[in-house]
Symmetry: C2
Subunit: 230 residues, 2 copies
């Protein structure tokens, strides 16, 4: 009998699906989805709801952060900045911003996601916040590193009511993409329902950095990716 | 010549006005306002724009966080929880939530404000984020304490691009309300344009905890509050 409640941040992508599968083994689930004006938000929301249906999650919250699009500064939310193809990633990154951070970085995005999750957790009494962030085998976003989540846990500790106990849990943080695929298969996670592409809403492009990382993970795991590609 | 840019979080209340006056002495200003479904948001937004006009601020961003109302859990955003009058504050607090935290606490609110400010700062190149939080002589919200801002500065350090340098500045954190009034008068801050009441939009109620703290500050400073009360 699972009694404690955990919020899972579910973008609709493969990582968040496997993260939900891991959380499901120990907790009652509440699913949180955040749109922030990204190009593929309708497709991601569909994946979110299908994943929530799969896990029979009743507590669902979908939030729109239109202001992240207004603030801009990212290829994911600003139509003036092209979504780079994976091969050109490092070149594009050095041209538009810091050498190591891709143009798809949405400034400080995960702090917004965690703040929403924390407020919701404090109200519904959830003890854990699961997020499928990946540090090593990923896009190099600063807010996907373990050090960021450690720092945010401290903010939660001092910024909520004294009796509130909420921890961020990052079960995938040190996993490779291929390990995530394998773990998902082990846990019967419905990877066929997920969506990772940054560019398209119907068939995944197979070329953006998110598709490239996903496909590399499936290839290295020796498993066929079940979603349709162009 | 002020060259560095600072974002000031301007609710429209007295504290944020004095905070803006302090920032104005050293920085070019950008003003950020956040509605989160609170009862008095229209009146606060008016105060924000009048303060921005006063300081001739061109970079203005007003953001609505409707989801904080959806999440609820606070008398400020949930019409099922009454805004307590100051005299009844401790009783109400112990009835509805933790003994020390008022029912007007919006769960983890300031983390949302700082996340928005940080994303915006990273895109427009602001180096400082000013927030008029007050720790001692205040309502006892956990996210108004210096320890919270120290922890958040660490999150900014590790959660933004390597070349990004943004610090949160809390010039009022250890001031009493009466000192804030006096500092505002010294700096010719337009306190007549500000709005603090949690309850009303036309004439301040004079009885909610925010009015009570404000009036106490003016009284102890020996200065008349220039705004209209019921």
């Amino acid at each position: 009998m699972k009694t404690d409640l955990a919020i899972v941040l579910v973008s609709g992508g493969m990582d968040s699906c496997v993260c939900a599968a891991i959380a499901d083994s120990s907790y009652q689930l509440a699913f949180l989805h955040v749109n922030y004006g990204q190009r593929t938000e309708a497709r991601e929301l569909l994946a979110f709801n299908q994943l929530a249906d799969h896990y029979q999650v009743k507590k669902r919250l979908s939030v729109s952060l239109e202001y992240l699009k207004v603030i801009g500064g990212s290829a994911l939310t600003d139509s003036n900045i092209a979504v780079p193809e994976a091969d050109f990633l490092s070149m594009q990154a050095s041209k538009f911003q810091s050498p190591s951070i891709p143009v798809t970085y949405v400034p400080f995005r995960n702090a917004h996601l965690l703040s929403i999750a924390t407020s919701w957790a404090e109200v519904i009494g959830a003890r854990k916040i699961f997020i499928g962030a990946v540090e090593e085998d990923s896009s190099g976003y600063p807010d996907c590193r373990e050090i960021f989540y450690e720092a945010f846990n401290r903010v939660i500790e001092v910024g909520t009511k004294p009796e509130t106990r909420i921890d961020i849990v990052t079960p995938l943080i040190h996993m490779k993409k291929s390990e995530i695929v394998k773990r998902g298969i082990q846990l019967s996670a419905p990877l066929n329902l997920t969506w990772s592409c940054y560019q398209n809403n119907e068939k995944a492009c197979g070329r953006c950095e998110s598709c490239a990382l996903r496909l590399k993970g499936f290839r290295e795991a020796g498993i066929n990716d079940p979603i349709p590609y162009e």
